[in-house]
């Protein structure tokens, strides 16, 4: 399969691959390795009163782990990059369909990208829970 230059770049050298631990981190995962796609986002939240304000905290750092195809890895890597500095809210920076277009993933990959979205939502919900 041919991959776009963007997919190739984020797959070959994902800058946000890895994990975060500590009391100020939350995690959200979706999918399963047995089914072929699994994604987890780890988020470090900014301490209340520093970068965050209101009911949702700001994301200070983000990492991801993924078992999946190159499109899944690339999209998860990009999302983790985009997460930093954002409010911890469930909405993706752009729709799954737009992500599919951005990474030029074939339509049959949509189901796998929805798992990436589910992991994102799970992480954001965990972040929202941490802010209360």
């Amino acid at each position: 399969m041919k991959y776009s230059e963007r997919t190739r770049r984020y797959f070959d050298d994902p800058p946000t691959a890895g994990s975060l631990t500590g009391p100020d981190t939350v995690h959200g995962a979706a999918g399963s390795r047995a089914q072929g796609t699994w994604v987890q986002f780890d988020l470090r939240l900014a301490a209340p009163g520093t970068a965050g304000s209101g009911t949702s905290l700001e994301i200070a750092a983000a990492r991801f782990s993924a078992f999946g195809c190159p499109h899944v890895i690339a999209v998860a890597a990009w999302l983790a990059e985009q997460a930093v500095g954002r409010r911890a809210e469930p909405a993706l920076p752009e729709s799954v369909q737009a992500l599919r277009m951005r990474f030029e993933a074939p339509v049959e990959k949509l189901g796998r990208l929805l798992i990436v979205e589910d992991a994102w939502i799970a992480a954001m919900r965990a972040a929202a829970g941490a802010s209360h």
Partner: protein, 388 residues
């Protein structure tokens, strides 16, 4: 521009050997043997006919057959189709049952499915977990209704060699079932003796042995009196079993390639076996790797599954450095896990995360080292990304 990836997919196809290409080229142009080998009335046809006959003798000699056994076809797929449909049709009055294996090539399995659709019964035997088919189980599956047993010699995905000698003897003892062997992967890798093994039909491919694509043969044992109905009707070429003008250059290329492949077979097999062992040792050090097809196998194929990595990502990660086949995408147009590896008991994930490395005449030791390093890097990186 970056270097092309190392070619480790010789089981998929091989480059045409230069001497083979030169001999083929001599059959194409005005100054060459361009005539129709079926044109007996002039020197152009006679010259082409002589070359085709010579090629037939070369192919036969390479596999222990007689020249008159060899029917040239367009490749092993056509040969397999001719064997299955040809025997099924000719012997339909004797019975309507076929025995084959679950790990056969699609060009055997799909004709079997079609015959089932037409009312035939087909028994698909599962291999042991090491890939081998038990000859006794093959024999036990033969009934009074069985007209054909079809088993491949060398599996194209795992390289496992089936005990066709034992199976052929058991089939011959049954006195009813003809024995067909798909030997597309065999020539140049392991010795074959068509007549000594009491095989009735054997499919051969040129492009797996440094010959041209689009060239193959079906050996049909004249000594054993095997009959079959043709698929193609027309000019009555090839003992009326395969009508159509014989492609002189293709037949000549196949003959030349088979002669070259047979020369020095043992020494080349030893060299290639050393490369295979070297790569397997390096990959085994990664941990979480599984050899697919642990039974006796040809030296040029190594099939390995890697735990903790997804199949498409594995292929994408290694493909800039090495050209190999995978257990998911490359065996067919679909991304389904390999049915061959599933038949060996691998789950979907391990079947998908397999790589088939296949070596050949031009594979060097330093390429094996580079391939081992590329796979080690890729697997380590993907496992890290996957959090394992």
């Amino acid at each position: 521009m970056s270097d092309p990836p190392l070619y480790l997919d010789y089981a998929a196809s091989t480059p045409v050997a230069r001497p083979v290409a030169q001999r083929m080229a001599q059959c194409l142009t005005l100054e060459g043997a361009f005539g129709n080998p079926g044109s007996a009335g002039h020197v152009y046809g006679e010259r082409a006919r002589e070359l085709v006959d010579g090629a037939r003798a070369e192919v036969a000699a390479a596999v222990g057959a007689m020249a008159r056994d060899i029917v040239f076809t367009s490749g092993a797929t056509e040969s397999n189709n001719l064997a299955l449909f040809g025997v099924a049709d000719y012997y339909r009055g004797s019975g309507r049952h076929i025995v084959t294996g679950r790990t056969e090539h699609k060009s055997v399995l799909d004709p079997c499915r079609e015959l089932e659709r037409r009312g035939w019964r087909v028994t698909y035997l599962a291999p042991e977990s090491d890939g081998a088919l038990d000859p006794e189980r093959v024999a036990a599956a033969v009934t009074a209704e069985t007209v054909l047993v079809s088993v491949m010699h060398v599996n194209n995905e795992t390289g496992v060699i089936q005990d066709i000698a034992a199976m052929a003897a058991l089939c011959a003892r049954s006195g009813r079932a003809r024995f067909h062997v798909d030997a597309a992967q065999s020539v140049g890798k392991c010795a074959l003796d068509f007549n000594a093994l009491e095989i009735d039909l054997m499919s051969l491919s040129a492009h797996k042995a440094y010959g041209p694509k689009g060239a193959g043969a079906l050996a049909v044992s004249s000594r054993r009196g095997v009959q079959l109905s043709p698929l193609l009707h027309g000019g009555g070429q090839e003992r009326s079993l395969r009508s159509g003008t014989v492609a002189t250059h293709q037949a000549v290329g196949m003959g030349a390639a088979f002669t070259l492949a047979s020369a020095g077979l043992e020494a080349e097999a030893r060299r290639i076996a050393g490369l295979k062992e070297r790569l397997w040792s390096a990959l085994r050090a990664l941990g979480g790797v599984h050899l697919n097809g642990a039974a006796r196998s040809v030296p040029n194929i190594l099939n390995v599954s890697f735990e903790g990595v997804e199949g498409e990502s594995l292929l994408a990660a290694v493909s800039p450095q090495i050209a190999v086949s995978t257990g998911s995408a490359c065996s067919s147009a679909s991304a389904d896990p390999s049915y061959v590896l599933r038949a060996l008991g691998r789950d979907d994930r391990l079947a998908e995360s397999s790589l088939r490395f296949s070596f050949g005449r031009f594979t060097r030791e330093d390429e094996i080292e580079a391939a081992a390093a590329a796979v080690t890097r890729a697997v380590t990186r993907l496992r890290r990304i996957g959090g394992t």
